[in-house]
């Protein structure tokens, strides 16, 4: 069974979706039913960070060994991460609309994330502006590493230094501490794994597509 992890992913995602919409959740003031979003919004971001880290690892590998395939994998992981990031923004703004009163409040965490997304869009634009394959791979790998090193302090350190509405920032406790009961944690944790597996699956398909395209061009 080579593809066992895909089955695991499907099973976990089914479980998470059912639990997410039908499961019992604690009733909290302000949050109310929107606490269910913790199963979707937060794992999306966790998965995105994991994907971006993987992308950087492959970029570094490309720089060390110079195999085009590593670059292909790096760019596809970044692509999937961007999609997950956009979905994370979307679910987050639905949540913010009900708990904070507006879909995009002026908050350091949210703005940092928007800037982070811009950085990765710039990465894609940079890739588009080269014709030569080797050159594109090398230079975008350099930019990918550089961006990641700026991105991590941008979303994890800077928002913590200021006041923020977002849980886990600006002196606020993280979400898990007070709001989630034990039953929720047993949905949330698998959800992180499930979303990551789903992302890896998407990436794998995209990588195969790109490999075929490269082969056809040759």
């Amino acid at each position: 069974m080579k593809n066992w992890w895909k089955i695991v992913g499907v099973v976990i995602m089914t479980y998470v979706i059912f639990q997410g919409f039908l499961g019992v959740v604690p009733r909290q003031p302000i949050l109310n039913e929107s606490i269910r979003n913790v199963y979707f919004h937060v794992p999306l971001w966790f998965a995105m960070i994991i994907l971006l880290t993987t992308s950087v690892i492959y970029s570094v590998r490309y720089l060390r060994k110079g195999r085009v395939d590593d670059d292909t994998i790096a760019v596809e992981f970044a692509n999937t991460a961007i999609v997950f990031g956009l979905l994370g923004c979307l679910t987050g703004s639905i949540w913010a609309n009900f708990t904070w009163g507006e879909p995009w409040p002026n908050d350091p965490k949210l703005n940092s994330v928007a800037v982070g997304m811009l950085m990765y869009m710039a990465y894609l634009i940079l890739r588009g502006s080269f014709d030569d394959e080797q050159r594109r791979a090398r230079i975008s790998a350099v930019y990918n590493v550089f961006t990641f090193a700026v991105f991590i302090p941008l979303i994890f350190i800077l928002p913590r230094l200021t006041d923020s509405l977002h849980p886990g920032n600006g002196g606020n406790p993280g979400f898990g501490k007070y709001d989630m009961d034990n039953a929720m944690k047993w949905v949330f944790r698998p959800a992180v794994i499930g979303f990551t597996l789903l992302a890896v699956w998407i990436t794998q398909l995209r990588v195969r597509m790109r490999r075929i395209k490269l082969r056809l061009e040759e």
């Binding site: 950085m119 634009i125 700026v150 800077l158 230094l161």
Partner: protein, 251 residues
């Protein structure tokens, strides 16, 4: 010390009898010497075609004056936040324009020649040092003119100047590598802006915060956190430039 200096010329060629430590020291002395020469070259190059330097200086003075007139030439009437933000935005755009030319200016053949002479680390360090110098001049002049025409509401001038220095170092370090990246592509001017805005933003926000503190004349201990973060960002960016540039120039 004398021995070390004498070593620059001859020591390297002495055969195996030389102890390893001395050899190492000769290497460092030699590479420092090369670095100094490269930095000197950057400054001399700039001095020789002064129109580029003068162009940059005129650019920031012009930008400041445009802002001054656009606000209806009313001195001292901007709120502190507007005053501060406007100044840093002007400085940001000037920095992007000034540093963008650090790799475009030199022809490919000449760059290739440098690469045969020195290591890539030396080249990026020399460019960064040169750009820091350039940014310091531009920021100093910009601040002078800006304070002259739009009034100077800064409460704690030394701290504000420290912000300028930190900003100059940070802008120079991060934009130099990006200029190197952008110079490899075809439409490098657009790419330079697109790539550098998001990367420079965390730094810019920190700078805005510290310089706002300096304007309000708040106690300096309040800004220590931000200054620490700025130094950390500067260090990250410098280390990355050092590590990544060798991969960049090979292509």
């Amino acid at each position: 010390m004398n021995k070390a200096i004498a070593g620059i010329g001859g020591g390297f060629f002495v055969n195996g009898s030389v102890p390893n430590r001395r050899l190492c020291r000769n290497f460092t002395v030699r590479s420092m010497h090369q670095l100094a020469t490269l930095i000197q070259k950057e400054f001399r190059l700039e001095w020789r075609n002064r129109y580029a330097l003068n162009g940059m200086l005129l650019y920031i003075v012009g930008a400041v004056f445009v802002c001054y007139l656009s606000f209806g030439a009313r001195r001292g009437q901007l709120t502190p936040i507007v005053w501060n933000t406007l100044f840093w935005i002007i400085l940001l755009f000037t920095a992007i324009n000034a540093i963008a030319k650090s790799f475009v200016q030199e022809r490919a053949g000449r760059l290739l020649y440098y690469y045969t002479l020195a290591s890539p680390q030396q080249i990026i360090i020399s460019k960064i040092v040169y750009n820091i110098g350039l940014m310091l001049v531009i920021a100093g002049l910009g601040f002078g003119v800006y304070a002259l025409v739009l009034g100077n509401p800064v409460g704690d001038v030394p701290l504000y100047l420290l912000c300028l220095v930190l900003g100059a170092v940070g802008f120079a370090a991060s934009l130099t590598l990006i200029a190197g990246i952008a110079a490899k592509a075809e439409n490098s001017a657009t790419l330079m802006a697109v790539l550098s805005f998001p990367v420079i933003l965390p730094m810019l926000l920190m700078l805005l915060r510290v310089s706002k503190n300096a304007m309000d004349g708040l106690d300096r201990s309040l800004s220590l956190d931000e200054i620490g973060t700025l130094l950390a960002i500067d260090a990250i960016v410098l280390a990355l430039s050092w590590l990544l540039f060798p991969f960049l120039w090979r292509s």
